[in-house]
């Protein structure tokens, strides 16, 4: 049902020629030659080559956004920068855990930032699921990485189509500004809109997890 109601850019679909202006709202973002995003390439360079220039590039993009994110939680600029520094240092130190076939750089950093904030707020370690091992030496499957990136772009578009108040609610939920009771009562509404997009990524991730567990 959801599949029919929206135009989906499937990885197997031949890329549409870049359209001038806004013709075909879902197709304009399809690149003529899909390749891994800059962010992913930077993160792989940090992971595999301990590349400091790539890390600096990641810092320039993410650190100012992380600061805004952290300050929404009600802490001042100085303290927020401490958190940003700790998060980015964790990105450097735990780079080996980054698996571009399963997560975007932004999701991975988001998760590190939330863990750090929660540990700081509650003064206890947030319980985390067991890490899944991936083979650090294996070349990432570019097709898999790009497919995940394309699904994330769709998620971005779905998020940008939300009404301002829905968008606000989503931001509050994912920034930890709602209690679980509030999420229980309120996420149904705006999350429903993007759930179909999330679902799209699920089969792919599930397949990926299965291959990790059953090599």
């Amino acid at each position: 049902m959801l599949m029919q109601s929206e135009t989906l850019d499937r990885p197997s679909t031949p890329p549409a020629p870049p359209a001038p202006g806004r013709a075909g709202k879902d197709r304009t973002a399809v690149k003529a030659e899909p390749k891994m995003s800059e962010q992913t390439l930077w993160m792989i360079a940090v992971r595999d080559n301990r590349d400091k220039a790539a890390f600096a590039a990641l810092f320039d993009f993410f650190a100012p956004r992380l600061k805004h994110f952290v300050m929404r939680g009600g802490i001042g600029s100085g303290q927020a920068e401490e958190v940003v520094q700790e998060v980015m240092l964790t990105v450097w130190r735990k780079a080996a855990m980054f698996d571009p076939e399963r997560a975007q750089v932004s999701s991975w950093i988001y998760q590190i930032a939330r863990n750090r904030q929660i540990d700081k707020m509650r003064r206890e370690n947030r319980p985390l699921p067991e890490a899944l091992a991936h083979e650090p030496d294996s070349e990432p499957d570019a097709g898999q990485v790009i497919a995940l990136e394309q699904e994330t772009s769709q998620l971005k578009r779905a998020l940008s189509r939300l009404k301002p108040e829905q968008r606000e609610m989503i931001e509050k939920a994912y920034l930890g500004e709602l209690t679980h009771q509030q999420i229980k009562h309120q996420t149904g509404l705006p999350l429903g809109t993007i759930k179909s997009r999330i679902r799209l990524g699920l089969d792919r991730l599930r397949h990926e997890l299965k291959s990790i567990r059953e090599p």
Binding site: M71, R93, A103, S106, Y110, Q117, L128, L178, K184
Partner: protein, 211 residues
């Protein structure tokens, strides 16, 4: 491994992803995610949403020395955080809550034993050990209770729960969980309010055992 049929409901998973769950519940969710690929996938999809929001956030100006300071820290030696691995029936997050040691069981009566993992204002998390075929005293809940089966199985008014399954109980459920006949049952249980026992003796014991 058997098939997990009772999963973490979506709102609780969303709350966990956002970091809005209290510690005892977060522990149950983290333990379940360690056992259940289906829920892990949903969780990672939530992280993808969080990541997109992060990317689309308005940048905030940084102090100029922040980056310089950080770049200088990259080569500094550091202690990696300890990694708690699964041990027997206990997934990594439970081993972390146990601080890497085997549980120290305390008797609750009727062969039932427990180990408190955490107890505080946010609620409590504990391991319960129920001998095969044995019942846990009939009780209701004042708040929310999440119970994850780590070994064996139990059945109650809501159905049968096997390894990896989570039972969600709230103040509408009065139940008498009974461990399956095959093996002793070990559960991880989290509550945000004291349980409401129907009979007098467990009620009297409650303050002592913090259940």
């Amino acid at each position: 491994m058997n098939t997990i049929t009772h999963h973490i409901p979506e709102p609780i998973l969303a709350a966990y992803a956002a970091g809005a769950l209290e510690h005892p519940f977060a522990l149950v969710v983290a333990a379940h995610l360690s056992l259940c690929d289906e829920c892990r996938v949903s969780f990672e999809a939530h992280e993808a949403v969080g990541g997109v929001l992060l990317e689309q956030t308005t940048p905030e100006a940084l102090s100029p020395d922040l980056k310089v300071g950080l770049m200088q820290m990259l080569d500094a030696p550091f202690e990696p955080e300890p990694v708690f691995r699964r041990s027997g029936a206990y997934p990594g997050p439970v081993m972390e809550a146990l601080k890497g040691r085997p549980p120290r069981w305390k008797r609750l009566g009727g062969g039932v034993r427990q180990t408190i993992l955490s107890a505080g204002e946010a609620g409590s998390a504990r391991l319960l050990y129920i001998p095969a075929g044995q019942a846990v005293p009939d009780h209701g809940h004042n708040g929310l209770e999440l119970t994850l089966v780590l070994q064996g199985s139990f059945s109650d008014e809501a159905g049968q729960f096997r390894v990896g399954d989570v039972e969600i109980a709230d103040d509408t459920l009065e139940h008498t969980p009974v461990a399956g006949a095959g093996a002793d049952c070990i559960c991880l249980a989290a509550t945000d309010a004291p349980l409401r026992f129907s009979s007098l003796i467990p009620r009297l014991l409650q303050p002592i055992f913090r259940i």
